[in-house]
């Protein structure tokens, strides 16, 4: 009975989260093999446009940021808003793209700078996007990120249990487990004890 439950947890957790989990391991692979992937020599592509806008409310508030996104038609997660010498600056982020909007103090003109990163920047963006601070779409992403993280622990725990129940000759499994946990614990102890 317990074996069946553990097996179903192991199976369905993987079926549900597999694609999202793969995304994390693939983007992580690109990050650790940074030099293998081509760099864009010219750096990120920057597109700058200036246009006039109309807004009835206060130009510095969060609703204004929403208004900018809706009227100028771009997506992304709001990551900052601050007052500058000439007005306000809003920043947004989505994987591979940073958007910066400088709004005049009168709130009637906006300069939009869209910085598009290369493939590595896109992978980096996907991998590092977390924190529950809205909007809803990005909080959903963070929730899936948490589920993917939790699933890794679930796979390890249920996997060890399933192996223990399933396998008659345990020597190879014990060796694999010992190597794995020996290396992890040994590395942590090494870092704690070395100068």
């Amino acid at each position: 009975m317990t074996y069946t439950i553990f097996r179903k947890i192991h199976l369905y957790a993987s079926l549900i989260i597999a694609v999202f989990l793969l995304m994390y391991f693939i983007t992580g692979y690109v990050m650790i093999h940074d030099q293998t992937f081509t760099h864009r020599e010219s750096g990120p592509e920057v597109i700058e446009t200036t246009q006039s806008i109309h807004y009835d409310g206060a130009a510095g508030d969060a609703a204004f940021a929403d208004h900018l996104q809706r009227t100028l038609g771009f997506g992304g997660k709001l990551t900052g808003q601050r007052k500058t010498a000439d007005g306000w600056r809003f920043t947004w982020f989505r994987p591979g793209v940073d958007i910066e909007a400088d709004v005049t103090a009168a709130g009637d003109s906006v300069t939009l700078r869209e910085t598009r990163h290369d493939f590595r920047g896109l992978m980096n963006g996907y991998h590092r996007m977390h924190q529950y601070n809205g909007p809803l779409l990005y909080d959903l992403w963070t929730l899936l990120y948490d589920l993917a993280s939790l699933s890794l622990i679930v796979f390890a725990v249920t996997g060890v249990y399933l192996w223990w129940r399933h396998s008659r000759r345990k020597i190879w499994g014990v060796l694999c487990l010992s190597a794995s946990w020996g290396l992890a614990v040994g590395t942590i102890v090494y870092l704690m004890l070395t100068r």
Binding site: L11, I32, G75, H130, A156, G173, S180, L183, M192
Partner: protein
């Protein structure tokens, strides 16, 4: 064939089980810091003689001080400062330790404030650590372990799909669950990347 795939899935999973737990815990910690709170467990201050360098270029002085003190880790370029009296401050860190260094070249002395970090901080530093740490040769196997875990996870997903496909009783349901969740996940990933 099935037995081979099962063994690959099973023993590969066992071999990287510790890394999966570490990945899982540290990834959760990025969103929920209270799960694995990072702390400084001790701070000590010590000093050591460091001869005057041949150049006063900031990065070269920092590298010289680190080498003379025989400290493992990375010098943080943004931390290197030089005051009017030509004294230098810099920071060096490695998983589990942080060193704040004040160097007086004329007195040829470096004063080091050494902070030891707890296990949670070490675990977080080990998340995805692949290139090793300068001066810590025994950390190289961890880089291989990172690489191995990446490949094993990719293999485990592939072999897992083939293995459940062998079970005719559950095959249809499983493919439907995986298909629906896969399409939704992929759609969501693409939507976030392309539209936001």
């Amino acid at each position: 064939m099935r037995k081979w795939l099962m063994n690959l899935h099973l023993y590969g999973g066992l071999l990287c089980s510790s890394y999966l737990v570490l990945y899982g815990l540290t990834s959760l910690q990025f969103n929920h810091a209270w799960l694995l709170p990072e702390k400084t467990t001790s701070t000590i201050e010590w000093s050591a003689p460091v001869p005057m360098p041949s150049t006063f270029n900031k990065q070269a002085v920092a590298d010289h001080v680190k080498a003379q003190l025989d400290l493992p880790g990375w010098v943080h370029p943004w931390s290197i400062q030089r005051d009017r009296e030509q004294n230098f401050t810099l920071e060096v860190s490695r998983p589990g330790k942080h060193y704040a260094i004040h160097y007086d070249p004329r007195a040829a002395v470096a004063v080091v404030t050494e902070q030891r970090r707890n296990v949670a901080a070490i675990m977080r530093n080990l998340h995805g650590l692949y290139h090793g740490v300068p001066g810590l040769p025994w950390l190289r196997p961890w880089g291989w372990f990172t690489e191995l875990t990446n490949w094993i996870v990719l293999l485990a997903v592939g072999t897992g799909i083939v293995l459940f496909a062998y079970r005719s009783r559950e095959r249809r349901t499983n493919f439907i669950v995986m298909g629906v969740c896969g399409v939704l996940s992929l759609g969501f990933i693409l939507y976030i990347g392309l539209v936001g």
